[in-house]
Amino acid sequence: MYRFSIVGEYLAMAWAALKTHKLRSFLTTLGIFIGVLTIITIFTTIQGINEYVIGELSNIGSSTVYVEKFPWIIQGDFWKYRNRKNITYKEYRALADQAQEADYIAPRIFTFKTVKYHNEAYERVPVIGTNEQYKDTDNVNPDRGRFFTQLDVNRNHNVCVIGHDVAQNLFKEESPLGKRIRVGSQKYMVIGVNEKRGKVFGQSMDNFVLVPIGTFQGATAGHRGMAVAMAVRDVAKLEDMKEEARGILRRVRKINPGDEDDFALNQQDQLTKAYQSLTGTLFAVVFVIGAVSLVVGGIGITNIMLVSVTERTKEIGIRKAIGARRRNILAQFVIEAIAIASIGGVIGIVFGYIIGNFVLSQMNLSTGVSLSSIFVGFGFSTFVGVVAGFYPAWKAARMNPIDSLHYE
């Protein structure tokens, strides 16, 4: 109770002192304001972009691994990757036959084709050849009709599942189910229409035609776009599955122990990690810029507090004469420095938040309050206040009461 009330007194003293030198207090707090403004603006903006990007990336299932020729993120020498062999149908078969850990394995080849129905034509549609397990590796959920079955795949039935956009463009009001569409030179019967998925990074996820892999031209002849999607139900088993798949492929490809893989096992977290390391660097740069202006602002506070302590020598003498202890004087001036710094900090937080959200709204991203950035901004400015105010306050606390009483 006593402690609390005296902190209130210090705040009142600080406020009174700042009010008597309004312009000086304002100019002093400017450095902190700019530092916090920088940090909060960039923080809010990056956080908004992050939320969007991570959200979009999570559309790629986290329990699926794609065995491909190229890694998604290429670091270093591209030519090393370019000379790699394609993933072949034979290798997919080896994985499908030998892998124990994977719950679902689906091959995937794709090409762009024009898709036609009566007079309607839809150009450059991604056509994907795969098997019935693709439903689980890539989360395909037809809301009309069904997905193809193992039988459809084994017997090379000319059936297809189409994306929401394809259905709308070719069939308008008509029901696509049971209709035959022409994909390139072949005809397929539509047996399912996938639910609407929406967009990722502005790209429609509903523009595709899925067909059994055996009906896809040249599927078994070493198609260069082949990939194998492997998924587990329990994410905890993901690493085991990857290790097993790596072992199988290395055996099939006869890679010597000690040589590196000549294929890639891609998964969502590679993209997330690459993105995070990019923004992490950006964060660090902004942090340094903000920190520099906070340090400069802090020096300004120290400077002005030293002036203030000298000007108020007599006040310090009076306070000491009537019973202020060293810690009372110390606390008074440290709290005054904290007050200057946090006023700049609070205004910086408010403006940084406004500017950050303005930038986000210009980018059509959702805006938001980041509590952590507020804590960071406030914590930093308070910390600067303590550090900047300590030396002047300590100087004030050590003053001799007799000398300071007679100071004019």
């Binding site: 009076i318 004469a321 009537i322 019973g323 202890r325 007799i402």
Partner: protein, 228 residues
């Protein structure tokens, strides 16, 4: 005894040169005395006042105030003694210029850790005792010299100190106002307070009951001037 001073010495050093300000002062002041300490400048009366007021410590000798041996205390302990045992009244008032009368009087109570409500109450009462009940929200520059000194007296009183230590309290006032201020000390004394007055004016010293004269850092005379 309220104040017991034995063989008090204070030496200042200007570089290598020793400047003795007090060279062995012995005195005792009892509760509810009204003592004037007199002496020309350089006699050591300011040094003695600083030590009695616990603003400074002696080089040699002991000083017992209200059963506390203050001659060897640390800065912070002295601050606490000043806060609880001593009420200062200065020649130049020494009020905080930007604080109103009430806040100035409250100040010692803040450092004593008394709650806001109680503080306000006590400060208001102290201001009423010195006849400034209607000026509590005036700032020092809105008050006359006499009124400022009354605020200072209220501030000295508010903590119920063992002694009120007044250093030339009328030095900056005209003689009429000075008399009014001395009237207040008279009343405080009659109300049971112990007052130690430092002055070089005979007519001010005449208000007291006992006069101690200093000369060259020693007590020249110590006499009871009025019987109570």
């Amino acid at each position: 005894m309220l104040i017991e001073v034995k063989d008090l010495q204070k030496t200042y050093y200007l570089g290598d040169i020793e400047v003795p300000a007090l060279r062995g002062v012995d005195m005792a002041i009892d509760n509810n005395e009204y003592v004037a300490i007199m002496g020309p400048s350089g006699s050591g009366k300011s040094t003695l006042m600083n030590i009695i007021g616990c603003l400074d410590v002696p080089t040699e000798g002991t000083y017992i105030l209200n059963n506390h041996d203050v001659s060897t205390m640390s800065d912070d302990d002295l601050a606490e003694i000043r806060n609880k045992q001593i009420g200062f009244v200065f020649q130049t008032f020494n009020l905080l210029p930007r604080a109103d009368a009430l806040h100035n009087v409250e100040l010692p109570l803040i450092y004593a850790g008394i709650s806001r409500g109680q503080r306000r109450q006590m400060a208001r009462e102290a201001l009423e005792r010195v006849g400034l009940g209607d000026r509590i929200h005036h700032k020092p520059n809105e008050l006359s010299g006499g009124q400022r000194q009354r605020v200072a007296i209220a501030r000295a009183l508010v903590n119920n100190p063992a002694i009120i230590l007044a250093d030339e309290p009328t030095g900056n006032l005209d003689s009429n106002t000075g008399e009014e201020i001395m009237e207040i000390f008279e009343q405080l004394y009659k109300g049971g307070n112990t007052i130690v007055l430092i002055t070089h004016e005979e007519y001010i010293a005449n208000h007291s009951n006992r006069v101690i004269r200093l000369w060259d850092g020693t007590i020249q005379s110590d006499e009871i001037t009025k019987k109570t």
